[in-house]
């Protein structure tokens, strides 16, 4: 299966903002399908940590070639950049594990709306720490709040 690369996708449109939004939705669709598969696997009495560890190991395997090529090209990059990416991965894994533990104490309808507020926290952090890289407008705040509210409704109503 041909996997699109950033360069190929950019060559296709030349419009990074629209392209970025389309790719973000594609990521959400990938995550959505993952949720369906993960739910099925966990209900088949495979421990969530096992599913998480093995699927991530497969993910590393699927990405090994491209990732290794990237490492070679980015040899001269600052070490703090690698540290930030490692922190991103570690934070994501810690968050997933914490969510699983939270779900063992309370139903999805209680936990998901709380965890689902993470985009608000991301935007708050971006507003505080990434002012040099991006600007958060009131319109964006309202949009983020509506998405979080809507996802909370969908998750709670399906729990």
């Amino acid at each position: 299966m041909a996997i699109p690369t950033l360069r190929k996708l950019r060559q296709g449109t030349g419009r990074p903002v629209l392209l970025g939004m389309v790719i973000a939705v594609a990521a959400a669709m990938s995550y959505g399908s993952s949720q369906v598969i993960a739910r099925q696997l966990v209900t088949e009495s495979v421990a969530p940590l096992v599913v998480s560890f093995l699927s991530m190991a497969f993910g590393v395997g699927f990405f090994a070639v491209q990732g290794t090529q990237g490492f070679r090209k980015d040899r001269g990059a600052p070490r703090r950049a690698f540290a930030f990416m490692a922190l991103a991965g570690a934070a994501g894994s810690a968050a997933s594990a914490t969510t699983v533990i939270a779900l063992s104490y309370a139903p999805v309808a209680t936990v998901s709306p709380v965890v689902g507020a993470s985009p608000l926290i991301s935007v708050l952090l971006a507003h505080r720490f990434l002012q040099r890289l991006e600007r958060v407008t009131p319109r964006l705040w309202i949009g983020v709040a509506m998405v979080v509210a809507g996802i909370t409704l969908i998750t709670a109503s399906n729990a």
């Binding site: 096992v50 699927s55 395997g61 950049a81 930030f84 939270a102 689902g116 991301s122 399906n158």
Partner: protein, 145 residues
Amino acid sequence: MSDMVLAILLGIAAAIAFGFVPVFARLGLVHLRTNTGVLTSMLAGLFVVGLFAVPLHIRDMFAISMLTLLWVAILGFANYRLGRFFNYTSVRLIGVARASPLLATAPLWATLAAIVFLGETPNAATLLGVVTVVGGVALIVSERS
């Protein structure tokens, strides 16, 4: 402390940790290619999960059937090879503020897939949620800055 309070506190901790992910990624991807960033983050994540999964479930890992392992591999492809690559690419292209809420729409797509492919009937709250999400996404997408 009741179970409910503990679950909510853990949920808040998870939300904060999830909230930091795109911010760290944005800072790292200023200097790194997306491919390098994705692999670095996955290796770190694998290490963290492995710290708990390997000691607790090493026997369970070898007891999994081949069919289940195939589904786990498909999950790894969808969640990491596609999902995380697209996630970091979008953060790089449009930033945290616009990418994060769009990425958070995953339950919307899961719900729509369940309606289309599994024939599930959405209730009023789900439909209201879909309309709210679409409205929020429209606001984010129409932002020009």
